[in-house]
């Protein structure tokens, strides 16, 4: 094994996961080919926009400071909306970052970011082959031995194939590592890049230059579907988006663009966008199935990383960081396999052990029950924000009614909408899904 193959590893997909794997392997001297179906890495890639510094610095310890960052997050907000109001909460801090201390969170635009990130893998010695769609994996005697690309004579063999082709991965299924996904295991998110001058952004969001805000918006804006909206600040634009489970889009027949337009006109959202020009409209799938919808993460000659492996922690809007950590661990596993001269599942099982010992699988396990709750009870995301918002509104309305009478009125209204035993049950379910 090993000597007949041209390359140590083929990586499919130049996103955060694939590039992290390629970079880690190439830096250790392994021969790596990275296939990307876009003509330039990044051109096919979309996310909401928040990335995390720790996992980037772990993969690119010397060069992370050169990454094309939009804004360093100083202000994180959550809104629980009704059609014309919201309860808002948040956390603001002064981000501190030094030369050896990457910022915790920052916004990026994936087209420039991924192009830069891929160039790091290239500089480390990985061979990047863009404009090439990988159509299948080549399997011989139960072992993945290479890939079939759309090019003429496009078969390429390697000791290891790292599948990092993103959400709704076709290759994972072709490699026999997963069943087909269900529509409640994936969300569709649409967003727009809304251009505004930097000074306007800093004024509207009360920010220092270079600092940024994230707002996650729950409640009425998703019109009864399980999902949320978001507003993230970039240097000279806002990323404004909203998404919901595909299964809920199917049932409600709400079009994604109507959902987005409704979100943009919410009375709390509209003033933030005023005067902005829509530069781009984007859409992407986000894995929502969690650990229960994960494919097998390794097999003989194959590893799966990132969105292709369902590595998304939706509650905390984390994904690219999980992909980067997993990509690095896949790379480290490959380095061991190369040393041992054994690319079988027995050696590659190290990858799963590394993931189990890290936040990646530990966090995904923590929220194992959440996808099921969200799929079956989207009403929770609408009812409770509405009840909370109405209660606060009542208490803040000074109309001559005594506060005790207001409390009674609020309680009566709450119980009319949801009897106490159902509220207890909802609370128990919520706790079980998130503890």
């Amino acid at each position: 094994m090993g000597s007949s193959e041209q390359f140590d590893a083929i990586v499919v997909g130049a996103g955060p996961g694939g590039v992290s794997a390629a970079l880690t392997m190439a830096r250790a001297g392994l021969s790596v080919v990275l296939f990307e179906r876009a003509e330039r890495p990044g051109q096919k890639n979309v996310m909401g926009g928040v990335m995390y510094g720790r996992m980037l610095a772990d993969v690119a310890p010397e060069t992370w400071q050169q990454a094309p960052v939009e804004r360093v997050i100083a202000d994180e907000r959550v809104w629980l909306t009704t059609p014309d109001a919201a309860v808002t909460l948040g956390h603001k801090h002064v981000p501190h970052a030094g030369p050896s201390d990457p910022p915790n969170a920052f916004t990026v635009l994936r087209v420039p970011f991924d192009a830069w990130f891929a160039s790091q893998a290239e500089a480390a010695g990985a061979l990047i082959v863009p404009g090439t769609t990988v159509e299948d994996v080549i399997v011989e005697q139960g072992r993945v031995v290479g890939v079939r690309t759309g090019r003429q004579d496009g078969d390429l063999r390697a000791s290891l194939v790292v599948i990092a082709d993103g959400a709704n991965s076709f290759l994972v299924q072709k490699a026999g590592l997963s069943r087909p996904l269900e529509p409640h295991e994936m969300a569709l998110v649409v967003k727009e890049i809304v251009a505004l001058p930097p000074a306007t952004i800093e004024d509207r969001f009360n920010l220092e230059p270079g600092h940024g805000t994230t707002i996650e918006v729950y409640g009425s804006v998703t019109r009864g579907m399980a999902g949320y909206g978001f507003i993230y600040t970039n240097k000279e634009s806002l990323s404004v988006g909203i998404g919901a489970l595909i299964s809920h889009f199917m049932k409600t027949r709400i079009t994604p663009w109507d959902l987005l337009e409704g979100f943009k006109t919410h009375p709390l959202v509209a003033p933030l966008l005023r005067g902005g020009e829509v530069r781009e409209y984007l859409a992407h799938a986000i894995p929502e199935g969690g650990v229960r919808a994960m494919p097998r993460l390794y097999g003989d000659g194959v590893l799966v990383v990132g969105d292709a492996a369902m590595m998304v922690n939706n509650l905390h809007r984390e994904g690219s960081n999980l992909a980067m950590a997993a990509g690095r661990m896949a790379g480290e596993t490959a380095i061991q396999a190369k040393r041992a001269g054994d690319w079988s599942a027995r050696t590659l099982a190290t990858y799963r052990e590394l993931l189990e010992a890290s936040f990646v699988l530990q966090d995904l396990r923590k929220y194992e029950r959440l996808p099921g709750l969200v799929e079956h009870r989207p009403d929770l995301l609408e009812t409770y924000p509405a009840m909370l918002s109405e209660a606060v509104h009542e208490m803040l309305t000074v109309d001559g009614v005594s506060k005790r009478d207001k409390q009674r009125k609020i309680l009566r209204r709450l119980l009319a909408r949801r009897p106490w035993w159902r509220m207890l049950k909802d609370a128990a379910e919520g706790w079980r899904a998130m503890r």
Partner: protein
Amino acid sequence: MKIEEKLYTLRWKHDKQTHIKITRADVCLERCDGEWHRPCTTFCPANVYAWDGEKIAVSYENCVECTTCVLGCPYRNIDWKPPRGGFGIEWQNG
């Protein structure tokens, strides 16, 4: 802002051949209308699918490659493959 205007902000490198096929037209005609009301005509964010009275018309050149239709067609009746290398949507920002 209408969907047509939203799509107008995008750039593609168009392929002459489609990467999307409806596997069985009779499923859309006979089963889907009554059971699901053809959800592909509403969930696709790029408005690729439209009912022309007899069949689903596929404007594959509008596709933004989100893969929603792969999971969202209740009959798995949409045969969607990634466009050939280098073709399809070219995001400007991501």
